[in-house]
Amino acid sequence: MVAFVISRLLQALPVLLVVALISFALFTFVGDPVAAMLSQDASLADRENLIRLLGLDQPWYVQFWKFVGNAVQGEFGLSYRLSRPVSALIAERAPATLELAFCAAAMTLCIGVPLGIFTGIYKDSWVSRLLLTVSLVGVSLPIFVLGMLLILVFAVHLGWLPSFGRGETVQLGWWSSGLLTVSGLKALILPAITLAVFQLTLITRLVRAEMLEVLRTDYIKFARARGLSNRSINFGHALKNTLVPVITIAGLQLGGIIAFAIVTETVFQWPGMGFLFIQSVGAADIPVMAAYLLLISLVFVVINLGVDLLYYLVDPRLRAQR
């Protein structure tokens, strides 16, 4: 088990290094950090001083090493756009994104997976057909269009829910939570639905496809030939075998939710990391972009590690190899 985790971590390292290299290259070759940090009337001596101070006169691999060292400590310098430490900016925005992503992920998994299983088992019932058609509409509905529609109906016309922002937040240490106030929860509803619908419909379709695949296998047919009950076949044998690919899918979905949080946050002006990132891309704010890039890679690596671990627990064939 420990060996398994370590081997997976070692496999994830190259991914992180590549991303770090890209971030570093962004820092070094794009734009001019010195110009960005100096005032207009600085002298040439000031400039050279700063270059030495920032270590920009050293060979690239020394700079890269320093970059990695800083990154590990969460040190990414100042945002060009906001002139504040990037780490502080991100720490400020992270809770908003995480709360949004968590709610959307919970909705996706709790609704999408059961729907997929249902439509897989009862593939010929009219309910399944209806759900599948509706799900295709969901997959074809771009997130921002859905967000707009929801705003139009529930914020502009009905006036029930706010169209932007997080509402009131409560400070729990450094974490600012919107989950504890009524206005915070109300503000969360529309963005969470917007973010969840696409992933939810996608996961329904994928789980259904996996379920159908498993139901066609010989061992399910053999289980029927042994006279086991439908319940035990569908929810025992078939479901457990479906779980293995579904874990991968769910991992990917989680990644998708974090990626599409960028869009949702923009539509609802949700003060999270994704909104920050898009504003940074617009303003070529490299330090923030680089930090976001690294952070999000780390998140994906962690998700993948979790997926691998779950695999390991579900599938005895993997356990046996070790």
Binding site: A209, G255, A284, I286
Partner: protein, 299 residues
């Protein structure tokens, strides 16, 4: 039997004819494509010609005035015409991106599957790494990095190409994996071995023997990818990091309209949104049908 007659007798055509959903979505897709391609000739107004746009025409509500069926936007542009021209850009970017990713994916997949060994391991490792990240994020990052890295005037000139590249590169691993899988199966079949024995070159064998056998699944993925590419482009443009404002796509129109949603001019955003969804939905339905038709086992 000639080719046409053979096609009309084929299972594929039969399953198309008997599927009302497939026929309906093909019709919608056709309307979208024709409207987009023929926009310069069919559209009531040329929205790309700034001289013909008059601020006096701004904010006309829909269904009130002839020639302005779907109303006008804040600049006095006809929304219907803008949709047709915008659809043109969306479709162009989508198709180019899918072509790009398909060519890259098929080439790399064939190479990896047919040659095997180190090449295979390297390519698939690359695909694995990229698949760690959602395709949309890859497209956004590639686009964002290009935006930051290229000098502004260079970027403006090739912005459309950058978007095509960003979207295309974000979906190659999926195609490459599928093609590699099918190639591995085909490679060990006897006709390929026979072709090798009589001394045909690798390239020739791949092109004439292996490629035709992997086209079915590729066609399905490419169709579904087209829907995805159109959505991705629209999303990037909505975020303001997609196609340049001089060549507005449906996403750009929705971005503009989004600012007027709260003030009651809903049509500026909603009609392009409907057009976008209709386009993507019809493509997705076609792709879905195609997958079922080519894999009767899956029904």
């Amino acid at each position: 039997m000639n080719r046409v007659a053979r096609f009309l007798d084929s299972d594929l055509w039969w399953s198309f004819r008997t599927s009302p959903v497939a026929v309906a979505s093909a019709l919608v897709a056709l309307v979208c494509i024709l409207g987009a391609v023929l926009a310069p000739w069919l559209a009531p107004h040329n929205v790309l010609d700034l001289a013909s746009v008059d601020l006096m025409d701004a904010f006309k509500p829909p269904f009130t005035e002839a020639g302005w069926t779907l109303g006008s936007d804040d600049q006095g542009r006809d929304v219907l015409s803008a949709i047709m021209f915008g659809g043109r850009t969306s479709l162009l970017v989508g198709i180019c991106a899918v072509l790009f990713s398909t060519v890259v994916g098929v080439t790399l997949g064939l190479t990896a599957g047919y040659l095997g060994g180190t090449v295979d391991a390297l390519l698939m490792r690359m695909a694995d790494v990229q698949l760690t990240f959602p395709a949309f994020l890859v497209a956004l990052l590639v686009d964002g990095i290009a935006r930051a890295a290229l000098p502004q005037e260079v970027h403006e000139r090739i912005a459309l190409g950058v978007v095509v590249f960003a979207i295309g590169i974000s979906t190659w691993p999926q195609i490459a994996r599928t093609v590699r899988g099918s190639t591995l199966v085909e490679r060990n079949k006897e006709y390929v071995l026979a072709a090798r024995v009589i001394g045909l070159g690798n390239l020739r064998i791949m092109a004439t023997h292996v490629l035709p056998n992997v086209l079915g699944p590729v066609l399905v993925i490419a169709t579904l990818n087209l829907g995805l590419a159109i959505i991705t482009e629209a999303t990037l443009s909505f975020l303001g990091v997609g196609v340049p404002p001089t060549q507005p796509s449906l996403g750009t129109l929705i971005r503009i309209g989004n600012d007027f949603l709260m003030s009651g001019e809903w049509w500026i955003a909603i009609f392009p949104g409907i057009a976008l969804v209709a386009m993507v939905l019809s493509v997705n339905l076609l792709g879905d049908w195609l997958r079922d038709a080519l894999n009767p086992r899956l029904r």
